[in-house]
């Protein structure tokens, strides 16, 4: 595997249908020109299931030897956390995740702070992306500590 890390079974743990599996039509492993394109494709694929199941999904995008980028199949987390995301591999360049369904008690339209999403990006020195319950795609750059909303969306 290009990223040099252990493959994680996205369906492991709860027996539910994964957002992306070898038997589905997912594009994990497909090559994209940029890392962001790969991340957006991953979130477009995962967000409908994430909102439907009200579970977070996430994973990494890695750089291939030919200079293209691919995303790893997302792992399925909990309603408000992702404690099974694989550790950053040697060729991983950014990470992506989803925030599940809308909940009035949760600020799930935004990245969590330094004790969550932003802290993870800072610690790994890696840009992070999130697809929100409304379908917005947001990008956090730890180098500038800025969040931008992409024009593209990941409809639930």
């Amino acid at each position: 595997m290009a990223s040099g890390k252990k493959t994680t079974d996205p369906a492991a743990g709860d027996g539910s249908t994964p957002a992306c599996s070898p038997s589905s039509s997912c594009n994990a492993g497909k090559k994209y020109a940029t890392a962001e394109e790969a991340a957006v494709a991953a979130m477009k694929e995962a967000n409908p299931k994430s909102v439907h199941d009200n579970r977070e999904y996430g994973g990494w995008v890695h750089k291939n030897p030919d200079g293209t980028y691919s995303y790893d199949p997302p792992v399925r987390g909990s309603i408000d956390g992702l404690d099974n995301i694989p550790d950053k591999g040697a060729n991983d360049v950014l990470w992506y995740h989803t925030h599940g369904a809308y909940d009035p008690h949760y600020d799930s339209e935004n990245f969590s702070g330094d004790d969550g999403d932003k802290g993870y990006s800072k610690g790994n020195n890696a840009v992070g992306y999130v697809a929100t319950p409304s379908g917005a795609i947001k990008k956090y750059d730890p180098a500038t500590d800025t969040v931008t909303t992409l024009p593209d969306t990941a409809p639930p």
Binding site: G81, D83, D87, D107, S112, G116, Y120
Partner: protein, 111 residues
Amino acid sequence: MAEIMFISLIQLIQHPETYHQKQVRVIGFASLKFEGKAIYVNKEDYDKAITKNGIWLDVELTDEVRKNHEHYVLVEGTFDKDRLGHLKLYSGTIKNIKRLELWQSGDKPKP
């Protein structure tokens, strides 16, 4: 009935193997919000997001639970050294939580 070990969070973080799958009682500063459910050694660690000085809390954020956000609390539950919370940022998880109560200065833990 299994013994509940009343220990400091420092002890728990320093010796996770000792307390793995054991019932523990700890006191610390609580964060109870989306992607940030944890008990920290103290408020400064929470303020500065020193998440490795915290333990993830596997608890549903009900209205009752959220009342304890940003307060010192007493927590009782089962410690799991292998589950590290959201994005593996924390130093373990307390699951099967039986008690989560406001801890006020001068209180003494109930037996």
